[in-house]
Amino acid sequence: MPSILPALEWLEALAWATAIRESNWGYPIMETAHVASIVAFAGLVMVMDLRLVGLAFAQTPLTRIQRPLFPWQMAGFALSGVTGLLLFVVDPLRYYGNVFFRVKLVLLALAGFNALGFHLTIFRTVGRWDEDPLVPTTARLAGAVSLLFWSVIIVSGRLIASNWFD
């Protein structure tokens, strides 16, 4: 299998990537924006998940929780995605071999599949159970899985910086 290392080395050597990496403010600003947007995004997903698993907002129909939040979830995800990509691009070799970085990427994909699966299947019938305090088992499961995945994503994101396996 061809290695992607040469591509990462090429990225790292780019003039603008080097400039950001070596500047005093580049990393702190990108990292702070990344953390702030990811906690805001994850929080807006978690409150919806808490409704799904039945721990909060039981008296409010699910769609009246979720529909208004959706654009903000997307905005938070976009900002954390852009800042995350920037953090990677300016210093790719720092992250590439990091076990917590890899765990984070795999879980991001799994969380995406979970959300997609939820929207394409059980959520289509939401009209029938929107007001139920206790939603169908599949939907509750999707909420619990989402809570777990996003928590582990945040934990592994923090642990990238203190990788004691290096």
């Binding site: 702030a36 990811i38 994850a42 409150v47 907002f57 409010t60 203190s162």
Partner: protein, 145 residues
């Protein structure tokens, strides 16, 4: 005890990681109400019910934020004590807490019709600014030494 904890790099990192998870859920419960107060969360009329339920999340996750936050401080008390960014975060946190349990609580718990329209909007905007400010300055502590 504090010394052993400080020297255990992974224990500190894990505490901070769990702190972030608790902060996320706390911030979510703040934002879901604030966005409604701003009028950007569509139906205004339901915000009192949502605020009541959000308050329970705030209490539990707020407890988790404290339990994971205090050991970080006690392990590095002198360093944090000398950090202006830490002092700023604590001042902002105090302001955010006072604002949340007084004015914000009144406005979020009231029915939309009884208040002038600018009031929930102003309260939502101030609340978002305060709490995001706490989160941002919290991350910045680590860059300020």
């Amino acid at each position: 005890m504090s010394q052993a904890y400080r020297e255990s790099l992974w224990l500190f990192a894990v505490t901070q990681a769990l702190h972030l998870v608790a902060v996320s859920a706390f911030l979510g419960a703040i934002l879901i109400v604030d966005l409604r107060l701003l009028g950007w969360g569509s139906d205004r009329q339901s915000h009192a019910g949502i605020a009541r339920s959000a308050q329970r999340i705030l209490l539990w996750t707020g407890l988790a934020v404290l339990v994971t936050g205090i050991p970080q401080f006690t392990a590095n008390a002198l360093r944090y004590y000398a950090s202006p960014v830490f002092a700023f975060k604590m001042a902002l946190l105090a302001a955010a807490l006072v604002f949340t349990v007084t004015l914000r609580r009144r406005v979020a718990g009231a029915d939309g019709d009884r208040l002038p329209t600018w009031m929930p909007r102003a309260v939502g905007a101030v609340s978002i600014a305060l709490w995001l400010g706490v989160a941002i300055s919290g991350r910045w502590i680590g860059f300020s030494e």
